[in-house]
Symmetry: C2
Subunit: 250 residues, 2 copies
């Protein structure tokens, strides 16, 4: 058996989304007994300041917390790091600049998956936090691959944000799903040929079959990519140039 | 808000049992948003050799793996450590002797809970791995509290062990539950006034209501104890005398 890599999970944003990623890593791993599973190290520090608050409303910058967590994972032996929080990806360039261990980027992996699924020029609906929408993370990643992103209008975004907050408060139930179904169907009516559950709380309340178009779950895409990298079936992601990243962060 | 402690989880034995514990820690924590949850660090190295093999069939001693994982958790900042694997508790005295960070013992917590629930002299049924049964872990902990433990006869133990192996292979389904229901009901017929799902795979396939007596889930008991300790609602467990533990291990 080839040397396996150790998966580091920078989690806690929110905690249930971290549970969901770890469960999907386990489900994706071909294993019939404990010893065939992968070594996973999780640092779930939920005190990381709210990512949307930082991006939109001048809240504290979560970057120092993310760097501290990534360093704990590196110190414990993680070979690479995944972050089950879409919004946190807005801060990853600065975090990557501060740690040697490479990150596997959930947004890029999801955009790659969509580009495999759909022809160039297709429209993709994005259900996410207001911070992820405003950051343009998915818009840019999809545009680079010839795809167009659309998000719900403001009043429907408010419903999506309310559903995400409800999951973070532990309300994984039908009433929460219903908050987000209207905005999701609105995206389909506006031409979305696929919808991305682009906040890690959303796959907990939305399932394939809830919509008349494919629902893409970035948590599952990330789990599959992490398992493939850990098993040596594909290479580790390239670490961006440190010099460039440091300049960008300053 | 008082300083909160960091929960270290020495996991991966098996991986789904670790997911179950983390989910129960989250459910037990009073929190309405991410930042109110607890800092949890998980080291899930499933390459730890099989605990029952080591106890019964001369397999490799898992102690060095457990010590390495505990040291990774201590290095990353865990204030105390929990181990979501009943059988691994047979090796904890040697592991505790090698690391400064205290362990919160799942067997002791469960025995305390049973002693609160039932009068002295009561009979408790133990569903566990053959290794946990043979180790006498529950027998001793319950006897110290005036309770009597019984386990299934050999042929029924084989069914329990098969169900545990099926969960470790990802078969969390009705057929697996049915493997263990016969032995569980046999314990009740033999006088058990409560049954302990004393392998962390078993709460995934057995639920309260499956049996005519209370089913105690040590994973949930451990989650509740860990949250109470992390929130400062009860003291950290006392670390056993290092000298004594070292002598015991030699």
């Amino acid at each position: 058996m080839a040397e396996r890599l150790v998966i580091g999970v920078l989690g806690g944003m929110g905690p249930l989304a971290t549970v969901d990623l770890y469960r999907k890593i386990i489900e994706t791993t071909p294993a019939a007994r404990d010893q065939e599973h992968l070594h996973v190290i999780i640092d779930a520090d939920p005190s990381v300041p709210d990512r949307t608050e930082a991006l939109l409303y001048g809240g504290p910058d979560p970057t120092p917390w993310l760097i501290a967590g990534a360093r704990r994972l590196a110190g414990a032996g993680a070979s690479f790091i995944v972050v089950p929080c879409n919004t946190a990806h807005a801060f990853l360039p600065q975090v990557q600049a501060a740690v040697e261990v490479p990150f596997l980027n959930m947004i890029d992996e999801t955009a790659d998956r969509l580009a495999e699924m759909l022809p160039a020029g297709s429209t993709i609906g994005i259900l996410a936090t207001a911070g992820t929408v405003a950051s343009g993370l998915y818009y840019r990643a999809l545009a680079e691959r010839g795809l167009r992103a659309i998000a719900p209008p403001g009043d429907e975004q408010t419903l999506v944000s309310a559903a995400i907050a409800a999951v973070k408060a532990g309300q994984v139930e039908r009433a929460t799903s219903e908050l987000v179904l209207g905005p999701a169907l609105g995206l389909v009516r506006s031409g979305a040929q696929a919808v991305v559950a682009a906040c890690t709380e959303l796959p907990l309340i939305l399932r394939t079959g809830d919509l008349p178009v494919p629902l893409v779950d970035p948590t599952r895409v990330l789990a599959e990519a992490a398992v493939a990298v850990a098993l040596g079936q594909r290479p580790l992601p390239a670490t961006p140039s440190k010099g460039l990243a440091y300049r960008h962060a300053e």
